[in-house]
Amino acid sequence: MITFILNDQPISTEASPGSVVLDFIRNDAGLKGTKEACREGDCGACTIMVGELIDDDTIEYHSVNSCLLPLGQMNGKHVVTIEGINHAELNPLQQAFVDEGATQCGFCTPGFIMSLTAYFLSSDSINYNDAITAVDGNICRCTGYASIQRAIARVCQLLLKDITGDKLNALISHKIIPTYFKQIPAKLNELNAHNQTDIQPVDISQEIVAGGTDLFVQRPDDLIDKDVRFLSSEPGLTDIWQDDKFCYIGAGVKIETIRNSDIVRKQIPKIDDYFRLFASTPIRNQATLGGNLVNASPIGDTTIFFLALNVRIGIANENEKREFKLKDFYVSYKKLNKKAIDIVEYLKLPLLSSQHKFNFEKVAKRTYLDIASVNSAVSIRADANIIQEVHLSAGGVSPIPLYLAESANYLVGREVNPQTVRGVCRVADAEIAPISDVRGSEIYKRLLLRQLIFAHFINLFPDNVNLESLYRFTENEIH
């Protein structure tokens, strides 16, 4: 039995935990405002909000793609569809969309409205750029977005002044959300559906689901009649903490939570910008670190990011706990150094010193919400321009997320200058084995990785290296 609140209605359902919320709200609940358009979290037409109690009277709301959201994870939550924010009259957000002509065929529109509503509910302050980021998971084929930008600007302007302090009440008074939202915390408490248990041993007959954002893309109709075990809400997996040497990120932590974590930001000040390049806001709100690592995509942004931070991965089963370097987790294509009964518990990052420099690069057809052609990360500790320690990773160039060990070896002890950078590019080129596919040809991926390695050094050592100095060495190498 799954128990939650859908808009203002309590729901108890025997529907399959492995079915997705989109199908429940459209078919079982008969709410047709949430649209299905891609069923892979890449268009945002099915965006809804999910609210979760963080204490007795506060709910945190996030936008999520309901097409990839397992119903079994909704226990004790507040699920909000477009119908759940409608008033008798249009609210100011809806009115702005109408006035600016920001909706044409209308199929994508409820998704945009829900992403923005979640943004207004979840953000500490309101500004135009963040509001645009909030719709990074919403695709519109009709408008060309200019009118949507105008509508967003208008509503941000309206809310900007007023949304402080008691935000929920302020949003209610602006009619962005209906008044019933005030009663939801008490109702969720009554549901008492949170039956948290400690991490249970893995039963290998079960389908293990973390965020599910890739599993439900790959096997959409497959999990409905399966016995599904959800990891992401298990306590012990969802924290970020640190001691004097390491920072730990639980495997169940959501990607967006990492992006917003003060602990992680202290290590990687630009994490906010880097993680904005990963998937979209609603996907980051649902996808977990552990899911991303175990998925073992050769192009996984999170994996490539952490590989260059020299992290260790902690995995466990009923009988033993193991911890080893993340780079040793990947054996061959989608094959892991992990038994079926193991689950990933955490990643452990060595704290970075002030001498450490870190950079992440990603190039895809589209900057946001796209899978990289090639991505790469590097962390370097240099002393007087002599490289002391370096970790370099690259995605999209090998069957596994690649830790470029030989390239790192080559760099240690060398001075940062154009010659060194060119040299490491040659080593890296010999270390990779990209294939031609929908994300690019082999020759492109080779060239692109070279350029991204250039970019690492140009970004981190602008006084030593620039494109002109590198280009002088490399012209005529490619034809």
Binding site: K32, G33, K35, A37, C38, R39, E40, D42, I82, L90, L93, Q94, Q95, F97, V98, D99, G101, T103, Q104, C105, G106, F107, T109, P110, I132, V135, D136, N138, I139, C140, R141, C142, T143, G144, A146, S147, I148, Q149, D221, V363, A364, K365, R366, Y368, L369, S373, V438, Y444, L447, L448, Q451, L452, A455, L467, E468, T474, E475, N476, I478, H479
Partner: protein, 753 residues
């Protein structure tokens, strides 16, 4: 302030209904489609034994279940609904599964095993051409004397141009819902731009008369041409399912199937030869277009024809020879997509100009400007250009957007930056309005004035977000001079409006708006006579309808719209009208390839500005600034939305949208995640639109102009702006005119020798 599209109020609340949102009757069956997994071959055996064992399967339909003609070809009868013996592309429908729920239908579809004998497949249009595999005989438009003309040229440049396909990616996938009615009738709800084509094709499939089929269209979640001809098959399958089972049948494609099974914008491979004199006048232009039609005709021949009509874009060229061949390949039949073959043609002439400019050491804009159409110039197909707006838009853009300053800024920026370069380009457009198939240029409207003064209108136009219904509402409200809230536009329904032309060719507002205008005028004419009687006044010319009040001799009378209509009804006046409109004075003779094919032309000029990251090969579109001749716009909010939307769709076609097949003909860009279209962060930072002020008259409603397609072609400028930025970094680059300019091609060009 512009009148709002009434539907938008529903959209923002999630209340607007699409096919998949309709509440279905109990007992409705759900369909899933089984399609070919090979590009060319013969079906040896369809093994459905496993599938039939699944609980909930009702029936499995194949070609042998079709009672009438197994044929969905529109222009040419060359396409089966369900494959008979041979298959010609991956995704070609072979069987339809009907089950009690959609999940079961999909599950069963996976269990159908089909054995094939594979034949060689062709995917390249030039190879198909060489093999003589054409959809129809090739066609040539020409004027002047091309052979003599080359001798008069000082500079001659030749080249090859490629342009890629484009997936429509309407957010609402293809779908239909059919229900059985009395007397063997069927009612079909279809997400189609062409209700009558759906009706007629089902009639053929089921071997029944057209009056037995009622097609109803409420709205489309995007069409863009993708539902002009290719919505038909799914409606036919649903109808066939109803015919077989007597139960309602719903068929809505999942995205993956939609992408795999439906055709896209035609890829073209083309050769050009252009000759100029030293004063930059284009003297001669020759082009050969190889259109990749896919495995069946669909609308390819009509699209090919429009390619020929727009061979010279906005330019006057005295000697032209353009030949086009629709080449048959083993891809899904490619189909209509905003621009309908004209973007491909314009991209070739712009490439030719760019290459000529490079050879002559000037900017393309010099050649573009000198050769722009003047009033009285003749197109290669014999029609005279009767407007001044091509030059007016260009000149306005130069002034309004300070083009010389932009050029200077970019020059300075590029001198100061080595790793980032900027580029710009101008793009004039000229697009002919009318279906080039003359008979389609007709529409009708049915207008009812109800006894309470409210108005209900049916037309052939299909609303798909482009705002056509709003323009029709405005037209009626304007003719009657009543509050627009009195006017409601009904669904598009073949029992109310027969013989509908597709909502396509940017012409729906013109055709259906004019039909509505005429119908309203007919009613108004009767009301004038009636009002004159009521007012006991003698002079009909002194009656005036203004803001819901009837005026006589410029004085308001006691008669309001509501009172007048109430009395008219009591006095047995006819308050309904059906009117037909056919665009006057257009004709085209395919024997001579000459004629007045278009009602009028739409012109404009765009300036595109881009920034290229020369380290990573990525780019941003900084600005597109447009001066557009939209006539006297009925609704600037809608027209602005159409320009912005078309532009960004065009930018997608030329930049990141890449339709990719592998060597076996399997679609690689087969998901939303593998086929990228512009998002809110990629859209140009600045889209400026200025509507040209012009007092020219035309055949649009109240002198407005068609808006849907023309602005798509402004995007071609962004391609050349990117090329110019690449050249700023790598002057030695050998430019391949090969769209889209993906970040991959950009990076490889930046570092090519």
């Amino acid at each position: 302030m512009s009148i709002k599209n009434k539907d938008t109020i529903l959209h923002v609340q999630g209340k607007s209904q699409f096919i998949d949102d309709q509440i279905v009757p109990e007992g409705t069956l759900y369909a899933a489609v089984v399609s070919s997994s090979i590009a060319h071959g013969k079906i040896l055996k369809i093994d459905d034994e496993e599938a039939r064992k699944i609980n909930g399967i009702v029936c499995i339909l194949t070609a042998s279940d079709v009672p009438g003609q197994n044929q969905i070809g529109n222009i040419i009868k060359d396409e089966t609904l369900l494959a008979e013996n041979d298959v010609h592309y991956i995704g070609q429908p072979i069987a339809v599964i009907l089950a009690t729920d959609a999940f079961t239908a999909r599950k069963a579809a996976k269990k159908i095993n089909i054995r094939y004998e594979a034949f060689p497949a062709v995917f390249d249009p030039r190879e198909a051409y060489k093999n003589g595999s054409l959809i129809a005989p090739e066609r040539t438009f020409s004027c002047g004397n091309i052979d003599d003309a080359w001798r008069k040229c000082d500079v001659i440049v030749e080249g090859r141009v490629e342009s890629g396909g484009q997936e429509h990616l309407y957010l609402e996938t293809q779908g239909a819902f059919a229900i059985p009615m009395e007397h063997g009738k069927l009612k079909v709800f279809s997400s189609t731009q062409s209700p009558t084509i759906v009706q007629k094709t089902i009639a053929g499939i089921l071997n029944i008369l057209m009056h037995k089929i009622e097609v109803d269209v409420l709205r489309l979640g995007g069409g863009f041409g993708g539902k002009e001809d290719q919505a038909t098959a799914w409606a036919c399958m649903a109808a066939l399912g109803v015919w077989k089972t007597g139960k309602p049948v719903k068929l809505v494609l999942r995205r993956h199937d939609d992408l795999r099974m439906t055709g896209k914008r035609h890829p073209y491979s083309s050769d050009f030869k252009i000759g100029l004199t030293n004063d930059y006048k284009i003297v001669a232009y020759e082009a050969m277009f190889y259109q990749n039609a896919g495995a069946a005709a669909d609308l390819s021949t009509a699209i090919l024809e429009r390619t020929l009509f727009h061979t010279t874009n906005s330019y006057f060229i005295p000697n032209v020879k353009a030949t086009a061949a629709s080449c048959k390949t083993n891809l899904p039949p490619n189909t209509a997509f905003r621009g309908f073959g004209s973007p491909q043609a314009m991209f070739v002439i712009e490439s030719a100009i760019h290459k000529a400019a490079e050879k002559m050491g000037v900017d393309s804009s010099i050649i573009q400007h000198i050769n722009l159409l003047n009033e009285g110039d003749e197109f290669p197909f014999g029609m005279t250009y009767k407007s001044k707006t091509a030059h007016e838009c260009w000149d306005n853009a130069q002034e309004l957007y300070h083009v010389n300053e932009i050029i200077n800024e970019i020059k300075v920026f590029n001198e100061q930056n080595s790793a980032v370069k900027k580029g710009m380009a101008l793009m004039p457009i000229c697009f002919g309005i009318s279906f080039t198939t003359t008979f389609l240029n007709q529409a009708s409207a049915l207008v009812h004035v109800y006894s309470d003064g409210s108005v209900g209108i049916s037309t052939a136009a299909v609303e798909m977000g482009q705002g056509v219904n709003t323009k029709i509402r405005q037209t009626a409200a304007r003719v009657f001079s009543i509050d627009i809230e009195r006017v409601f536009i009904e669904t598009t329904n073949t029992t109310r409006i027969a013989n509908t032309s597709p909502t396509a060719a940017s012409s729906a507002a013109d055709l259906n708006g004019n039909a509505t205008r005429i119908a309203c005028e007919q009613i108004l004419c009767r009301l004038r006579t009636f009002a004159l009687e009521q007012l006991k006044q003698p002079d009909a010319s002194k009656i005036d309808f203004r803001d819901e009040t009837i005026f006589y001799n410029n004085q308001p009378t006691a008669l309001t719209w509501e009172i007048l209509i109430g009395q008219a009804y009591i006095n047995r006046q006819n308050l309904s009208a059906h009117a037909h409109y056919a665009t006057p004075a257009i004709f085209f003779d395919r024997a001579t390839e000459k004629g007045n094919a278009f009602a009028y032309h739409v012109c404009g000029t765009a300036i595109s500005k881009v920034t290229l990251d020369c380290l990573r090969g990525t780019y941003t579109i900084d600005a597109v600034k447009i001066v557009h001749d939209g006539g006297t716009s009925i609704n600037e909010l809608i027209d602005r939305g159409q320009i912005e939307g078309a532009l960004v769709q065009g930018i997608g076609w030329l930049t990141m949208e890449e339709v990719l097949y592998d060597e076996a003909g399997i679609l690689l860009s087969n998901t939303f995640s593998a086929y990228k279209i512009p998002d809110i962060q990629f859209t140009p930072t600045d889209i400026s639109i200025h509507f040209l002020e012009s007092d020219e008259t035309n055949l649009g409603v109240f002198n407005s102009k068609a808006i849907g397609e023309p602005p798509f072609m402004y995007a071609i400028g962004t391609y050349f702006a990117l090329i110019n930025a690449i050249k700023a970094f790598n002057p030695n680059v050998h430019i391949k005119y090969d769209a889209p300019m993906t970040p991959e091609k950009a990076l490889l060009s930046l570092y090519s020798a």
